[in-house]
Symmetry: D2
Subunit: 354 residues, 4 copies
């Protein structure tokens, strides 16, 4: 019943509006005795932060995380880990014109209707700025389950798809380009596309694929905490996400059982992996992989008709500094949420048999 | 931290193996004073039960729900509602040959690895029989939020897609055919396809689309209980589900912002609804709609190579009575889980402003 | 947010009215691979059941637990454990006269006010019959943490106190007498007192002391799941309980620090144990002990003035078959709830350091 | 499963060590549209803060709360409320001598055993400094349920008891003296006692009584969220608490039913109130009152034998600045936790009948 909490045994609770004093959170249930690499956490934040490249928002925020508790002499203490990220560069006046205007396909209208008021500065609580908190927590979770490799990457931008199977990719190349696609040829096309879109004052959608490798067997808790169901919930929590599929996904719905079944090898591994590494909600030791669909960012730089809180028709043109395509910056967010889900289940699994 | 619980304020907790004495559950948080129509609940169960038609499993189970508490003199009392459904027709001997064989793309292997043992009769806890419990709870939830219309239907079987937009369909026709597709022409093709598949001893996947109409505004709890994230988790909890998308879904990831934004009318409704009735995780009053992908059933009637618990290669051929396509029987399950999610949020929303 | 659930990782969810078809529950989070002794569970239920002796209610109910899931071939499977206890001897007509009368110091009035209606037969959900469910779950929990010895006993009835320190008692004698006081001399006085009270148509309160021995160090989760806070909540959940104290308890509030501190021995044990085996919410390996106060049963066999649901003054005289003193039958309930708390924390503790 | 969270629908999650950078928390589930009086919150904190008078610790900390989110233009927004209180005056060097010494009747030993390490500066997470967070949350909760009057006061210090029934007290006088006892005569004796104790380098226990008046009927959620069980858990979460009783409490355990029952008036109120305003876990509209026992503070200014982390016998003498009696400063903490419990149930109750 925590609207702002994610996870079960390892639980992240967050707060913060995009243009308030600070955002932050509390990570509860993190075990004691984990050596904490603070630089690695900040590096993940840097991957997500605005202003990194020409295809993302030009807003500059240092996004420096400050840990307030739960880490002592380089180790986690088992107590709750509080942290904040100060908001330093919020240009609230960019949003003054939005005080009572509902931007199309934003959450202005629904927040106002639900709560009777809203913090109208830059999306307030509904802003994707919140996901910086998730990256902090996910980076900590990665350090707890460091034997699992989690790699996300941009797999499509608009109609441009990177078609190679993930097995043929070298994930060490993902950070080599600003769109975060490990296939250079596709990356180049995607970057060109995003630049084109930005120039036109428009935005574009895309997809991210994520792969978790070196998975232990037994991760996931049926009936209602199935591994893929929690991953799906985690991904659908990310701003702008419209869909989630794992393993064969929507393609699997076109197939026959005789094509789709994954035949076992003698060691328990499977010859194919249309299952996406999960059976009955529990990891089977094969790679877990899934794909996440992001809609185009709603704020565009051309004029659109809309309404205000008095239900009057008006016009709006995007101001502020926005991403033409959210996908490159969402790659570390997808990884972070994956890490949170896996770390939570890793801990839970310690309690499931004697 | 309840592995077998779903929901927040309205919470379903379930138990039961497919070949145990009974399955059942407890519904907690259901408000007092709701007139309960027991027949309507049994009717929903009858829609899901095996043996209804030639394109579903021929196993016959009456699937009669018995309420043990929480309903008194025709009304909910506000106390927890306990119920059971007895297992009457389990042919456990059909499964004796599976004692130590891991069926491909089933959960036998993962349960054994996770728990160190499993109830090997018919899938045990991982069986879709569990979903009968969900239909009971969902049918109760429907009576709590009776003003919302929830309609699911089969939108594809294998490669056969019903292409009409849902707005052109007459949902009263969904139950007119055994595949539960309200478009008769598509339904016929789907039925033919499933019969063909069954004859070949094979199985096939498909998709279900679900639409919630007459939605109130304000349903859904950001940040981590967004309406679509909870719907996604609910759908991904259903056996055989591989993907979930809402509104524009994966198609939205190919679009531009200028195409994708839903422009407001003066009354707060929108001209288009690519958002799928949800902004920022909160319903905006437009129709909520989504699509769910089901893989083909893993049990097929031809011989497949597999392994046993001693990691020896062996062969298996499906016995028992299985569905050639799970989709028709899953339609009421999708509706039930949708109703549970909406009813939970409906209650929560009563507490979100003063 | 589960009104009818207790526990965190090991969670009991219950249902049932005293005069409905059955009561029961679901135990979730119980690890796989525990050998289950069903007889031991039934024996605990038999300790609680009505009609055992002359100083408890003469109502006879077999109180036979039926397990419906989660136990297979003598072992827990790690899936949820469903169980029911049928109500076989409910004499609802004993309660017909109560349909719209509010019994003094019962929950009739508050249930009616809160929910707008109530199951008026024998207390409905507010009946202590519910605690039979807890005894089932507690008996299972005892089998999970079998190395810990949990012993509760009657430490006072009315003004009759058993003054010996628990260290001087032989807990194997607790079941030797019907009042469940291991000190025979005190037991005799208590029994005489209760017989006297019953004869007078009256009821009487008392206290139960509980001791958990052979405690591991590290059990309990600060800040808000302190061991003693959860024990306190557990005890205060039992019908008729008015108070809880652990270690030095209310006496400790009269003491000075120089008297109250427990001085360490070199091995980490302490010379005294006014702490009650808990520091900062975490067990320190010493005995955990606490005391629970029970009010006298509200149903008495003499006439009392009361009101009905029309707010009219009327008279009521206890009918039905009631306990003159609830304490003897509450001894196994106190033990059961203690076992549930300890087992839950035992599991949680597996996840608190790497 | 949140070790550092309290509450259900209204949930407080906290973090912070006594000598870290800051303590703080997140309040989730607070409804939108409540006018927030920030001064009133700071005033509650000031009641709890150290250095207020001669009978409490002389440590000086401003204890200024900074709200980071969830309040906008003077109102709650319905989003999570983040806050911090910076630690400004921690003299960590006072604790350097404690690095590996286990103070008697403190949590040093149990934290070290449970987590394998601990923040040894001033109690770390186990310090009562944490309760400043609770006072912030409780002060917000009070503004949500402002029609209920919650008044706590010191009812005993050591053997000095304020014997007057609470009905005879004028709660406006509680803040008139430094021990927070509204009966001046008793207050004077208590103050003299504490001064004496402090001079002797010793500490002393005491009790606090709390009364909630103008209670609505229907607050509390059986079976496992009974009003008194949650209050008990809340109180037992406060540092140094050893016992909780409500209504007749431990005295009630000596009484007969014919004495103990509360006879109804025609309007549903009761002539006596031994029930403490709660029947079956639900408020009945009468005053809710309870009593909480605090042990003497463990840190005393004379030498005590103890051990270190190498299990060697050593000596320790309290340094730092400690309270001779924790009770006066605990009065606002008891009120805060009471407010949190009541506000949580107040919200939940909105969902319990249609």
């Amino acid at each position: 019943m925590s609207f702002n909490s994610f996870g079960n045994l390892l639980k992240l609770t967050t707060f913060g509006e995009s243009h308030g004093t600070a955002i932050g959170g509390v990570i509860d249930g993190f075990p004691a005795g984990v050596e904490i690499n603070l630089n690695a956490i900040q590096q993940e934040l840097d991957r997500r932060k605005p202003g990194q490249s020409k295809i993302v928002t030009q807003r500059k925020e240092p996004d420096t995380v400050e840990f307030l508790s739960g880490i002592f002499e380089g180790q986690s203490t088992g107590t709750s880990i509080g942290f904040i990220i100060k908001n330093t560069n919020q240009k609230s006046k960019d949003y003054n014109h939005n005080t009572n205007i509902y931007r199309p396909s934003h959450a202005d209208y629904t927040y106002d209707q639900k709560y009777g008021l809203r913090d109208y500065r830059g999306g307030g609580r509904s802003s994707a700025r919140e996901t910086a908190n998730w990256v902090v927590a996910g980076a900590l979770a990665k350090q707890l389950i460091s034997s699992i490799q989690i790699n996300a990457f941009t797999s499509s931008v608009g109609e441009i798809f990177m078609e190679k199977p993930y097995q043929d990719l070298d994930f060490s190349k993902t950070e080599n380009n600003i769109v975060r696609c490990p296939d250079e040829e596709s990356a180049e096309k995607m970057i060109t596309k995003i630049k084109e879109i930005r120039k036109a004052g428009d935005t574009i959608g895309g997809t991210i694929t994520c792969v978790a490798q070196n998975m232990p067997v037994g991760i996931g808790e049926p009936i209602f905490n199935k591994l893929h169901a929690e991953l799906g919930k985690a991904m659908l929590s990310i701003n702008a996400v419209k869909g989630f599929e794992f393993g064969s996904g929507f393609c699997g719905a076109k197939m026959k059982g005789s094509e789709h079944n994954d035949i076992f090898n003698a060691d328990g591994s499977t010859k194919s992996n249309l299952s996406g590494g999960i059976q009955g909600g529990i990891s089977n030791g094969m790679d877990v992989y899934f794909r996440v669909a992001f809609k185009p960012v709603a704020t565009i730089m051309s004029s659109q008709q809309t309404i205000n809180s008095e239900n009057e028709i008006t016009e709006i043109t995007g101001k502020g500094r926005h991403d033409p395509c959210v996908v490159p910056r969402a790659v570390p967010i997808v990884e972070a949420m994956t890490a949170l889900v896996l770390a939570d289940f890793y801990l839970l699994n310690k309690t499931r048999k004697i």
